[in-house]
Protein backbone atom coordinates (compact mmCIF):
# COMPACT_ATOMS: atom_id res chain seq x y z
CA UNK A 1 0.00 0.00 0.00
CA UNK A 2 2.74 2.40 1.07
CA UNK A 3 4.78 1.35 -1.94
CA UNK A 4 1.88 2.10 -4.28
CA UNK A 5 1.36 5.50 -2.65
CA UNK A 6 5.07 6.32 -2.93
CA UNK A 7 5.17 5.42 -6.59
CA UNK A 8 2.29 7.86 -7.19
CA UNK A 9 4.49 10.66 -5.94
CA UNK A 10 7.28 9.94 -8.37
CA UNK A 11 7.51 11.12 -11.95
CA UNK A 12 6.40 8.50 -14.49
CA UNK A 13 9.20 6.04 -15.20
CA UNK A 14 8.57 5.93 -18.93
CA UNK A 15 9.62 9.58 -19.18
CA UNK A 16 13.03 8.53 -17.85
CA UNK A 17 13.17 5.86 -20.53
CA UNK A 18 12.42 8.52 -23.17
CA UNK A 19 15.27 10.67 -21.89
CA UNK A 20 17.62 7.71 -21.72
CA UNK A 21 16.83 7.11 -25.39
CA UNK A 22 17.31 10.73 -26.41
CA UNK A 23 20.39 11.68 -24.38
CA UNK A 24 23.94 10.39 -24.39
CA UNK A 25 24.96 8.48 -21.30
CA UNK A 26 27.01 10.97 -19.32
CA UNK A 27 26.89 13.37 -16.39
CA UNK A 28 24.62 15.78 -18.28
CA UNK A 29 21.91 13.15 -18.61
CA UNK A 30 22.29 12.30 -14.94
CA UNK A 31 21.93 15.97 -14.00
CA UNK A 32 18.90 16.44 -16.25
CA UNK A 33 17.15 13.44 -14.69
CA UNK A 34 17.90 14.85 -11.24
CA UNK A 35 16.68 18.33 -12.21
CA UNK A 36 13.42 16.92 -13.54
CA UNK A 37 12.90 14.87 -10.40
CA UNK A 38 13.59 17.89 -8.21
CA UNK A 39 11.24 20.12 -10.20
CA UNK A 40 8.53 17.45 -10.08
CA UNK A 41 8.80 17.28 -6.29
CA UNK A 42 8.72 21.09 -6.12
CA UNK A 43 5.64 21.28 -8.39
CA UNK A 44 3.91 18.53 -6.44
CA UNK A 45 3.95 20.66 -3.31
CA UNK A 46 3.05 23.83 -5.19
CA UNK A 47 0.41 22.95 -7.77
CA UNK A 48 -0.73 19.42 -6.99
CA UNK A 49 -0.14 16.04 -8.52
CA UNK A 50 -2.02 16.40 -11.79
CA UNK A 51 -0.42 19.66 -12.88
CA UNK A 52 2.96 18.49 -11.65
CA UNK A 53 2.68 15.44 -13.91
CA UNK A 54 1.61 17.59 -16.86
CA UNK A 55 4.51 19.96 -16.35
CA UNK A 56 6.91 17.04 -16.02
CA UNK A 57 5.60 15.54 -19.25
CA UNK A 58 5.92 18.85 -21.07
CA UNK A 59 9.50 19.33 -19.84
CA UNK A 60 10.50 15.79 -20.73
CA UNK A 61 9.12 15.94 -24.26
CA UNK A 62 10.69 19.36 -24.78
CA UNK A 63 14.10 18.16 -23.67
CA UNK A 64 13.94 14.90 -25.64
CA UNK A 65 12.78 16.64 -28.81
CA UNK A 66 15.45 19.32 -28.56
CA UNK A 67 18.18 16.78 -27.81
CA UNK A 68 17.22 14.68 -30.83
CA UNK A 69 17.10 17.73 -33.11
CA UNK A 70 20.49 18.91 -31.84
CA UNK A 71 21.90 15.43 -32.32
CA UNK A 72 20.57 15.34 -35.89
CA UNK A 73 22.41 18.58 -36.70
CA UNK A 74 25.65 17.31 -35.11
CA UNK A 75 25.28 19.30 -31.89
CA UNK A 76 24.88 16.35 -29.54
CA UNK A 77 24.66 17.09 -25.83
CA UNK A 78 28.01 15.66 -24.83
CA UNK A 79 29.69 16.92 -21.68
CA UNK A 80 32.91 18.84 -21.94
CA UNK A 81 35.76 18.51 -19.52
CA UNK A 82 34.73 20.35 -16.33
CA UNK A 83 38.29 21.60 -15.91
CA UNK A 84 38.39 22.91 -19.48
CA UNK A 85 38.92 26.50 -18.34
CA UNK A 86 41.11 27.08 -21.35
CA UNK A 87 37.74 27.03 -23.04
CA UNK A 88 38.31 24.95 -26.09
CA UNK A 89 35.12 23.02 -25.47
CA UNK A 90 37.18 19.94 -24.70
CA UNK A 91 35.03 16.83 -24.77
CA UNK A 92 35.58 14.73 -21.65
CA UNK A 93 37.58 11.54 -21.98
CA UNK A 94 34.60 9.22 -21.46
CA UNK A 95 32.48 11.15 -23.92
CA UNK A 96 35.43 11.32 -26.28
CA UNK A 97 35.73 7.56 -26.27
CA UNK A 98 32.13 7.21 -27.38
CA UNK A 99 32.42 10.12 -29.80
CA UNK A 100 35.52 8.76 -31.55
CA UNK A 101 34.98 5.01 -31.42
CA UNK A 102 31.24 4.87 -32.04
CA UNK A 103 29.07 5.96 -34.97
CA UNK A 104 27.18 9.29 -34.76
CA UNK A 105 24.40 9.53 -32.19
CA UNK A 106 21.64 9.65 -34.82
CA UNK A 107 22.94 6.45 -36.41
CA UNK A 108 23.18 4.73 -33.03
CA UNK A 109 19.66 5.86 -32.14
CA UNK A 110 18.35 4.66 -35.51
CA UNK A 111 19.94 1.27 -34.95
CA UNK A 112 18.43 1.12 -31.49
CA UNK A 113 15.03 2.01 -32.95
CA UNK A 114 15.36 -0.63 -35.65
CA UNK A 115 16.34 -3.17 -33.01
CA UNK A 116 13.31 -2.36 -30.85
CA UNK A 117 10.64 -5.03 -30.43
CA UNK A 118 7.87 -2.84 -31.87
CA UNK A 119 9.72 -2.02 -35.06
CA UNK A 120 8.18 -4.80 -37.23
CA UNK A 121 4.82 -3.10 -36.62
CA UNK A 122 6.25 0.15 -37.91
CA UNK A 123 7.62 -1.68 -40.94
CA UNK A 124 4.19 -3.14 -41.59
CA UNK A 125 2.73 0.35 -41.38
CA UNK A 126 5.25 1.55 -43.99
CA UNK A 127 4.20 -1.25 -46.36
CA UNK A 128 0.50 -0.48 -45.89
CA UNK A 129 1.11 3.22 -46.57
CA UNK A 130 3.11 2.28 -49.68
CA UNK A 131 0.29 0.10 -51.02
CA UNK A 132 -2.35 2.75 -50.32
CA UNK A 133 -0.32 5.54 -51.97
CA UNK A 134 0.43 3.29 -54.92
CA UNK A 135 -3.26 2.51 -55.42
CA UNK A 136 -4.18 6.19 -55.15
CA UNK A 137 -1.57 7.15 -57.74
CA UNK A 138 -2.85 4.53 -60.20
CA UNK A 139 -6.47 5.55 -59.79
CA UNK A 140 -5.68 9.28 -60.08
CA UNK A 141 -3.59 8.86 -63.24
CA UNK A 142 -5.98 6.66 -65.22
CA UNK A 143 -8.33 9.36 -66.62
CA UNK A 144 -5.36 11.42 -67.94
CA UNK A 145 -4.36 9.14 -70.76
CA UNK A 146 -1.95 6.23 -71.25
CA UNK A 147 1.33 8.25 -70.94
CA UNK A 148 0.45 9.75 -67.55
CA UNK A 149 -0.84 6.40 -66.48
CA UNK A 150 2.40 4.59 -67.34
CA UNK A 151 4.55 7.29 -65.64
CA UNK A 152 2.45 7.03 -62.52
CA UNK A 153 2.61 3.27 -62.80
CA UNK A 154 6.43 3.27 -62.90
CA UNK A 155 6.56 5.72 -59.97
CA UNK A 156 4.06 3.70 -58.02
CA UNK A 157 5.86 0.42 -58.62
CA UNK A 158 9.18 2.04 -57.62
CA UNK A 159 7.57 3.34 -54.44
CA UNK A 160 6.09 -0.03 -53.65
CA UNK A 161 9.42 -1.79 -54.29
CA UNK A 162 11.19 0.75 -52.06
CA UNK A 163 8.66 0.22 -49.26
CA UNK A 164 8.93 -3.56 -49.48
CA UNK A 165 12.74 -3.35 -49.58
CA UNK A 166 12.82 -1.13 -46.50
CA UNK A 167 10.45 -3.44 -44.68
CA UNK A 168 12.49 -6.51 -45.69
CA UNK A 169 15.76 -4.97 -44.55
CA UNK A 170 14.19 -3.93 -41.28
CA UNK A 171 12.57 -7.30 -40.67
CA UNK A 172 15.75 -9.24 -41.52
CA UNK A 173 18.41 -7.00 -40.04
CA UNK A 174 16.49 -5.63 -37.04
CA UNK A 175 16.31 -8.88 -35.06
CA UNK A 176 19.98 -9.58 -35.87
CA UNK A 177 21.02 -6.24 -34.38
CA UNK A 178 18.81 -6.90 -31.40
CA UNK A 179 20.40 -10.33 -30.83
CA UNK A 180 23.88 -8.81 -31.18
CA UNK A 181 23.02 -6.13 -28.64
CA UNK A 182 21.63 -8.67 -26.21
CA UNK A 183 24.77 -10.82 -26.60
CA UNK A 184 26.96 -7.77 -25.87
CA UNK A 185 24.86 -6.89 -22.83
Amino acid sequence: MTRAFDSLLEPPRWTHAVLRFALSCDSMRDAILGDLHEEFTHDLAEVGERRARLRHLSRTTGIAARALVDSAICRSWVSTDPAGEAGRGVVSSAANATAVGAPPVVLRRTRALVGAATFPLLALFVVVVGVVVNTMMFSAAQPQGPRASSAAGIGGVALLVACVAIAAIVLCVGPRWRRKRLRRA
Binding site: A67, E85, G87
Partner: protein, 111 residues
Protein backbone atom coordinates in the same frame (compact mmCIF):
# COMPACT_ATOMS: atom_id res chain seq x y z
CA UNK B 1 38.71 35.84 -29.78
CA UNK B 2 38.19 39.07 -31.68
CA UNK B 3 35.69 41.85 -31.03
CA UNK B 4 33.00 39.93 -32.85
CA UNK B 5 30.24 38.80 -30.49
CA UNK B 6 30.01 35.05 -29.98
CA UNK B 7 26.78 35.19 -28.02
CA UNK B 8 23.20 35.03 -29.22
CA UNK B 9 20.44 36.87 -27.37
CA UNK B 10 19.31 33.85 -25.35
CA UNK B 11 22.89 32.88 -24.63
CA UNK B 12 23.54 36.37 -23.24
CA UNK B 13 20.47 36.09 -21.02
CA UNK B 14 21.56 32.71 -19.67
CA UNK B 15 25.15 33.88 -19.09
CA UNK B 16 23.92 36.92 -17.15
CA UNK B 17 21.59 34.76 -15.05
CA UNK B 18 24.49 32.43 -14.21
CA UNK B 19 26.67 35.37 -13.23
CA UNK B 20 23.90 36.73 -11.00
CA UNK B 21 23.20 33.39 -9.33
CA UNK B 22 26.86 32.88 -8.46
CA UNK B 23 27.48 29.52 -6.77
CA UNK B 24 23.83 28.51 -7.01
CA UNK B 25 23.55 28.34 -10.80
CA UNK B 26 22.02 25.06 -11.88
CA UNK B 27 19.42 24.60 -14.62
CA UNK B 28 16.12 24.77 -12.67
CA UNK B 29 17.43 27.73 -10.67
CA UNK B 30 18.47 29.54 -13.85
CA UNK B 31 14.98 29.00 -15.28
CA UNK B 32 13.33 30.21 -12.07
CA UNK B 33 15.62 33.25 -11.93
CA UNK B 34 14.77 34.25 -15.51
CA UNK B 35 11.08 33.77 -14.78
CA UNK B 36 11.25 35.89 -11.62
CA UNK B 37 13.50 38.71 -12.86
CA UNK B 38 12.54 39.28 -16.49
CA UNK B 39 9.27 37.32 -16.60
CA UNK B 40 10.61 35.00 -19.26
CA UNK B 41 9.36 31.44 -19.19
CA UNK B 42 12.12 29.22 -20.52
CA UNK B 43 11.60 25.87 -22.18
CA UNK B 44 13.84 23.26 -20.59
CA UNK B 45 14.91 21.90 -23.96
CA UNK B 46 16.10 25.33 -25.09
CA UNK B 47 17.85 25.94 -21.77
CA UNK B 48 19.81 22.66 -21.75
CA UNK B 49 20.67 23.07 -25.42
CA UNK B 50 21.95 26.58 -24.75
CA UNK B 51 23.97 25.44 -21.71
CA UNK B 52 25.50 22.69 -23.80
CA UNK B 53 26.44 25.10 -26.57
CA UNK B 54 27.99 27.57 -24.14
CA UNK B 55 29.88 24.71 -22.54
CA UNK B 56 31.22 23.60 -25.90
CA UNK B 57 32.30 27.13 -26.76
CA UNK B 58 34.28 27.13 -23.52
CA UNK B 59 32.25 29.96 -22.01
CA UNK B 60 30.96 27.88 -19.11
CA UNK B 61 32.53 25.49 -16.64
CA UNK B 62 30.63 23.02 -14.52
CA UNK B 63 31.01 20.99 -11.39
CA UNK B 64 28.95 18.18 -9.90
CA UNK B 65 27.46 18.23 -6.44
CA UNK B 66 27.01 15.11 -4.32
CA UNK B 67 23.89 13.08 -5.27
CA UNK B 68 20.95 13.59 -2.91
CA UNK B 69 17.79 11.52 -2.22
CA UNK B 70 15.54 14.49 -3.22
CA UNK B 71 16.99 14.16 -6.68
CA UNK B 72 16.57 10.37 -6.77
CA UNK B 73 20.30 9.91 -6.35
CA UNK B 74 21.29 12.15 -9.25
CA UNK B 75 23.99 14.77 -8.89
CA UNK B 76 23.33 18.47 -9.38
CA UNK B 77 25.36 20.22 -12.08
CA UNK B 78 26.40 23.74 -11.19
CA UNK B 79 27.56 26.15 -13.87
CA UNK B 80 30.07 28.93 -13.65
CA UNK B 81 31.09 31.45 -16.30
CA UNK B 82 34.68 30.86 -17.39
CA UNK B 83 37.24 33.64 -17.89
CA UNK B 84 36.62 33.39 -21.60
CA UNK B 85 32.87 33.70 -20.93
CA UNK B 86 33.37 36.84 -18.84
CA UNK B 87 35.37 38.35 -21.70
CA UNK B 88 32.60 37.48 -24.16
CA UNK B 89 29.91 39.06 -21.94
CA UNK B 90 32.05 42.17 -21.52
CA UNK B 91 32.43 42.54 -25.29
CA UNK B 92 28.68 42.17 -25.78
CA UNK B 93 27.95 44.73 -23.06
CA UNK B 94 30.40 47.26 -24.52
CA UNK B 95 29.01 46.96 -28.02
CA UNK B 96 25.41 47.16 -26.75
CA UNK B 97 26.19 50.25 -24.69
CA UNK B 98 27.59 51.93 -27.78
CA UNK B 99 24.27 51.34 -29.52
CA UNK B 100 22.14 52.44 -26.56
CA UNK B 101 24.06 55.70 -26.14
CA UNK B 102 22.18 58.90 -26.99
CA UNK B 103 18.74 57.30 -27.19
CA UNK B 104 17.38 58.64 -23.88
CA UNK B 105 15.61 61.41 -25.77
CA UNK B 106 13.55 58.86 -27.68
CA UNK B 107 13.23 56.03 -25.18
CA UNK B 108 13.29 57.94 -21.89
CA UNK B 109 15.54 57.15 -18.93
CA UNK B 110 16.14 53.53 -17.96
CA UNK B 111 14.22 52.18 -14.92
Amino acid sequence: MGRKSVLGEFEQTVMLAILQLGDDAYAPNIARHLDATIDRSVSRGALYSCLNQLERKGLLRWRLDAPTPERAGHARRFYQVSARGVRAVRIVRDSQLMLWRGLEGILGAAK
